[in-house]
């Protein structure tokens, strides 16, 4: 066992942690009316770290601490994605925080800590490291979802989140320990070797696998482990809802993708149908239940449960194409959901309402917000020229290529269902008349920063839809480093295509 660790490769993580402490400390010295500075320091800091990280870690491939922690293109991709998500959330919540939350210093610093956790999740190459970074992310999200201290719903959301989150991490941990008992190791790469060597599958392994899937299913909000999602989404402060929908899913999928592709690939026969079934159930259930929702946050919560179903297809298909599809869908999903959620946040900032009928006549009151929401919803439904179409195309065709044609069919059907309830919101905005009373026809003012963030996200949705090549190049690089040359299991499977 060699232990000459190249600590300098951890520089991005150190910098993000340092930035979090800088924001915590600056908070003491800044007068309450000028707390905006903290948001700008946080966002600019993350932007500088991205600009530093990309050239610094490009083409670096190392595994630190004897395989506990990976530095590769895959981790780099998710590091940049996590920090980008962090910047978007910080800038998108600026006005919401000013208007409705106290303790902005802690708010921004905790977001930065959770970005660090997301970066670590994508980089961990071992179960305990993965578990610890997952818990760090969860702890940050528990706090953030209850951040509106005076709001009873926010409090209720965080209680439900923390109790179900603790329960799910109990399941996950018991599963991890069972896998350790069955395979004698917690390293992903060694797990794959042990699985290949194991002649028969013993009970410990099966129970452990089931519990790990259940525990991670909770974190991903996959049916039947999704019950916390609607309540937490509805109760949490609006930008945090966006953050939970996008950030926690991106990071959890980064972890799940590496675990299943690197560690559990040889036990493919044991878990493929489990994951595929979960994916089908999740996309159908999420999209069907979303139809009857009247609160827009709840509707988007079920819609994002449905999206998790699509993303799980990328795990079930287990091929380089599926890994590409999953990652590009995550990017598209992040941009799209941010565009929609921040547009709704802008509406909520101005009116304090978030039920679907409240959006009646929004096209007349704020054409910009209505257009942004429409672009986002059409992209989620997968209409052409928008990100959702391209990313779903990659993902569905990857699943179809791996003998999961039925699953791709279910996914197409679920997308059709989703178009129905997205169109209902769009109908409210463009066809229904704004209520005459209670100032319903007053224009909705959007602050410049929020306008810029929404505009950037909507532009990203369109750009990814018409010209995905640069993103795809980075993703193919990431997949190549994830599968590596020594992962014969998947590489051979792909060669047969």
């Amino acid at each position: 066992m060699t232990m000459d660790v190249r600590f300098e490769l951890l520089m991005p993580e150190f910098l993000v942690a340092g930035l979090a402490f800088l924001v915590f400390t600056l908070d003491f010295f800044i007068r309450p009316v000028r707390k905006d500075i903290l948001a700008w320091v946080s966002a600019a800091g993350l932007a500088v770290i991205i600009a530093f990280t990309v050239p610094y870690l490009l083409n670096e491939h190392d595994s630190l601490f004897d395989g506990l922690y990976r530095v590769d293109s895959y981790a780099l991709f998710f590091k940049v994605l996590s920090m980008g998500i962090g910047i978007a959330v910080i800038l998108g919540s600026l006005h919401f925080v000013n208007q409705r939350l106290t303790h902005p210093g802690e708010y921004y610093a905790i977001i930065i800590v959770s970005v660090l956790a997301m970066m670590m999740m994508a980089a961990s190459g071992e179960l305990l490291t993965a578990y610890l970074s997952l818990e760090l992310l969860s702890f940050c999200l528990y706090i953030l979802s209850g951040f509106a201290l005076q709001d009873r719903r926010s409090n209720e959301a965080s209680v439900k989140y923390v109790l179900l989150g603790a329960f799910s991490s109990g399941l996950l941990l018991y599963g991890i320990v069972l896998l350790y008992g069955a395979l004698g190791t917690t390293h992903f790469a060694e797990m794959a070797t042990a699985l290949e060597g194991a002649g028969s599958v013993e009970g410990r392994l099966l129970v452990g696998l089931a519990l790990v899937v259940a525990g991670l299913g909770f974190k991903l909000a996959a049916v039947p482990f999704h019950m916390w999602a609607p309540d937490v989404y509805q109760g949490a402060p609006m930008p945090i809802t966006a953050y939970i929908a996008v950030g926690s899913k991106a990071a959890a999928f980064a972890l799940v993708l590496r675990l299943f592709y690197e560690g559990l690939a040889p036990a493919y026969d044991q878990w493929q149908m489990l994951i595929a079934g979960m994916a089908a159930l999740t996309m159908i259930f999420g999209n069907v239940v979303a139809i009857v929702q009247t609160n827009v946050k709840r509707m988007l919560a079920y819609s994002s449960v449905g999206q998790v179903g699509f993303l799980l297809m990328g795990i079930a298909a287990l091929s380089p194409l599926a890994s590409n599809g999953l990652m590009v869908h995550l990017v598209g999903y992040s941009l799209t959901n941010f565009a929609v959620f921040f547009a709704i946040t802008a509406f909520y900032n101005a009116t304090g309402k978030d039920d679907i009928p409240d959006f009646a006549g929004l096209a007349g009151r704020s054409p910009f917000l209505a257009a942004a929401i429409t672009i986002g919803l059409f992209s989620l439904a997968g209409l052409p020229f928008l990100a959702g179409f391209v990313t779903k195309f990659y993902l569905f065709s990857a699943a179809a290529a791996e003998d999961l044609l039925w699953l791709a069919g279910v996914a197409m059907f679920a997308s059709l269902i989703s178009l129905y309830y997205y169109l209902q919101l769009i109908r409210q905005m463009y066809i229904e008349k704004a209520p005459e009373d209670e100032g319903g026809s007053v224009a909705v003012a959007t602050p410049a920063v929020l306008t810029a963030v929404i505009g950037a996200m909507a532009l990203g949705v369109v750009l990814l839809g018409v010209y995905p090549d640069p993103v795809m190049a980075a993703i193919e690089d990431a997949t190549a480093s994830l599968l590596g040359t020594d992962n014969a299991w998947i590489t051979l499977g792909a060669a047969g295509q």
Partner: protein, 101 residues
């Protein structure tokens, strides 16, 4: 003492924990049941390290980290539950039901 004795103990503890989470309505009790689940994992980790993987410290390291994470989790969850109690004068999770659908 055989390995399966310890595994049975741990499985029983885990089952009691899961039952507690599902059956208890008081948030503090739910949290205590979660602790049982984590402790069941701890027992297993130590047993596997001793019986199956002697000479390496993986199981012990897992245990130390579980204890730390559990402590942090309880601290955080208690703060959030205390907030629930301040707002609603109850720690019963069934009474926190303003959001449905």
């Amino acid at each position: 003492m055989e390995l399966y004795h310890v595994e049975l103990l741990s499985a029983a503890l885990f089952a009691i924990g899961v039952y507690g989470v599902l059956a208890r309505r008081n948030a503090v009790m739910v949290l205590m049941a979660v602790e049982l689940m984590l402790n069941a994992a701890t027992i297993n980790a130590v047993a596997y390290a001793a019986f199956l993987d002697p000479g390496r410290l993986v199981g012990q390291v897992i245990t130390v980290f579980i204890i730390t994470v559990a402590a942090a989790e309880v601290g955080l969850a208690m703060a959030i539950i205390l907030r629930l109690y301040r707002v609603r004068a109850t720690a019963n999770v069934d009474e926190a039901d303003e959001m449905k659908g």
